[in-house]
């Protein structure tokens, strides 16, 4: 599988609500990061919109399925549009892949649009990859934004 095909596969899992399968794409030591600040260097000294280790990411997926997850039920419909995929080398055996992401979300008669620059660090796993790190830099991360209850 090419890295490009892998990113499309990941987006498809999210857009068809196969969140548990999506979670399995992540390695046990994975991090999932949506920084608060543009160009943020450190997730420990500055807050993040999301900064999850694998345990917390799993809680995020489980919450979506909870019948009283008020902000998540009914489940939002999304389209994750991935483009501008570029491979930026393979330091330490991990492939660094940059992409652009547009997400359209629809829930409770409200449609929202997100734009982000994304970086994946992918590890080879047989014919496919696993995600060791995913960073999503929302273009409006420092702006005034409604609560985000979807996976980006």
């Amino acid at each position: 599988m090419t890295p490009e095909q892998f990113l499309y596969h990941e987006a498809r899992l999210l857009d068809t609500q196969r969140y548990e399968e999506w979670l399995q794409l992540f390695t046990e030591d994975a991090t999932y990061w949506v920084p608060l600040e543009q160009g943020q260097k450190d997730p420990y000294q500055t807050s993040s919109i999301i900064h999850d280790d694998r345990t917390l990411l799993e809680l995020r997926v489980k919450q979506i399925r909870h019948p009283r997850a008020h902000a998540r039920q009914p489940i939002a419909r999304t389209v994750h549009q991935v483009s501008n995929v570029m491979v930026h080398g393979e330091p330490n055996g991990e492939m660094k892949v940059a992409s652009a992401l547009t997400v359209v979300e629809f829930r409770n008669e409200k449609q929202r649009l997100y734009g982000a620059l994304v970086e994946h660090r992918l590890r080879k796993s047989g014919e496919t990859f696993r995600i060791a790190h995913k960073r999503v830099d929302l273009i409006n991360s420092e702006g005034e934004i409604d609560g985000i209850a979807i996976l980006l």
């Binding site: 608060l36 420990y44 909870h66």
Partner: protein, 436 residues
């Protein structure tokens, strides 16, 4: 007078009329009579270290720039050119020598005085001599926190805060040397709901088990937080989400007080023994030693035993001292609000203490948090429901009739009493029904 009598009918001892949350005309009056009069929290002096440092904010609908002036004092100016009305200062923060209007280049000094006007000869003699950036009439600090009031007259800041000063004291006293600084980024989350909904939620001990049911459930099934020396990154998140699922008896046993002018405080619930120190956390021990070095053993013990949890400063602020979080709410419309969430670093405490603050902020106050997002969803559902005219009243009678008058505050009969909402509504009516 007639209008004020009508307002008084909207607030009754145990109920409030829905129009208080849903009527745009009442919202306009709130901007004038509440946000135009009360002391509002604007920020903290650490945001303005040097002359010329500024940040922009709002007071109700007014665009404001808060600035450290050349004389070292902090001032607040209406961010609006005296000429044709443009904002003179771009949104954000930075350092400036002069505020220069982008439209025609009028420039003002850090105190708001007009210093230079291009094409000055074109104006009639003396016509622009008196013009300046309008200054917010009153600015005052309490323990480093910056407050301002758009009203030239009114109670002093200390009078306004009253017993609520103790919560600010708690926040500052916990920092060795009393040194706090804004750090770690600012969350800015919006919701389609009235500003009062947030202030009515933060001291509400009956809501977590229901609003936060899903995050409580997933945290209960999460791996156990680690023992001292075996901590995980996720521990703070898991613990904090589980706390919201505390048994009813814990919430009922919480202290809840409301003070004149609508402020309120929840106490007696969390304490550091349960949160950190009791678990023998080495960073906390190191922090405690630094506090002892700063103020002595006896005073350090006293400070760490204060258990004030969430505090509301009516009408625009909510904060808590244990993890040093402060939220400022800006009303945008009757059904639209934005909340800015700030974290504070104790300058003389171990770095791990601030890492914990950041982790706490992410899980509880983050824009995509497991916890906050459910609160926002419920605010929106309330606003939606209150648009219905089929039922007129909101019921705020939990604990009504059992309130206990203490020295300078009214205490709820139990921790889930709605005494604090009744207190907020009394303050609301007081601001709203005064003509001046």
């Amino acid at each position: 007078m007639a209008a004020n009598e009508q307002l008084a009918m909207l607030v009754q001892p145990d109920r409030v009329h829905r129009s208080v949350y849903a009527d745009p005309a009442i919202f306009e009056l709130e901007l004038e009579r509440i946000f135009g009069r009360a002391w509002l929290v604007l920020g903290h002096e650490s945001q303005l270290r040097n002359a010329g440092d500024y940040f922009t904010t709002r007071m109700g609908r007014e665009p404001i720039v808060v600035v450290r002036k050349d004389d070292g004092q902090i001032g607040a100016l209406i961010n609006r050119c005296a000429h044709r009305g443009s904002l003179v200062c771009a949104e954000g923060r930075g350092n400036l020598e002069r505020f220069v209007c982008p439209y025609h280049g009028w420039s003002y000094d850090r105190a708001g005085e007009l210093k230079a006007v291009p094409f000055a000869s074109g104006y009639p003699q003396g016509a622009i001599g008196e013009l300046r950036l309008k200054a917010v009439p009153r600015v005052a600090l309490y323990r480093g926190f910056i407050f301002a009031s758009l009203a030239a007259e009114g109670p002093s800041l200390e009078e306004f805060l009253g017993p609520t000063k103790a919560s600010f004291d708690d926040l500052v006293d916990r920092a060795p040397g009393g040194e706090l600084e804004v750090a770690g980024g600012v969350f800015k989350h919006t919701y389609n709901g009235n500003w009062k909904l947030m202030l009515e939620n933060h001291l509400d001990g009956a809501h977590p088990a229901y609003v936060h049911a899903s995050s409580v459930a997933v945290a209960r099934n999460a791996p156990e937080p680690g023992k001292p020396g075996e901590e995980h990154y996720y521990d703070i998140a898991v613990r904090q989400m589980r706390q919201n699922g505390a048994p009813d008896a814990v919430w009922e046993g919480t202290g809840i007080w409301t003070t004149p002018r609508g402020h309120g405080v929840m106490g007696d619930y969390h304490d550091d023994d349960r949160l950190v120190a009791g678990m023998g956390n080495p960073a906390f021990d190191q922090y405690r030693n630094q506090l002892i070095k700063s103020v002595g053993q006896k005073e350090a013990d006293r400070i760490l035993r204060v258990t004030l949890w969430n505090t509301i400063v009516y009408p625009n602020c909510s904060f808590m001292s244990q993890f040093r979080q402060l939220r400022i709410i800006h009303p945008l419309a009757v059904d639209r609000s934005v909340v800015y969430t700030y974290s504070f670093r104790m300058k003389n405490a171990p770095a791990q203490m601030f890492r914990d603050t950041v982790a706490f902020a992410n899980v509880v106050n983050g824009t995509a948090s497991w916890v906050l997002t459910d609160d926002l969803e419920v605010y929106e559902r309330i606003q939606h429901g209150l648009a219905s005219g089929a039922m007129e009243w909101i019921y705020i009678g939990r604990g009504h009739g059992g309130d206990i008058q203490e020295k300078d505050a009214l205490r709820g009969k139990t921790g889930t009493s709605e005494v604090f909402i009744r207190g907020q509504m009394r303050a609301w009516l007081d601001y709203m029904s005064r003509d001046a």
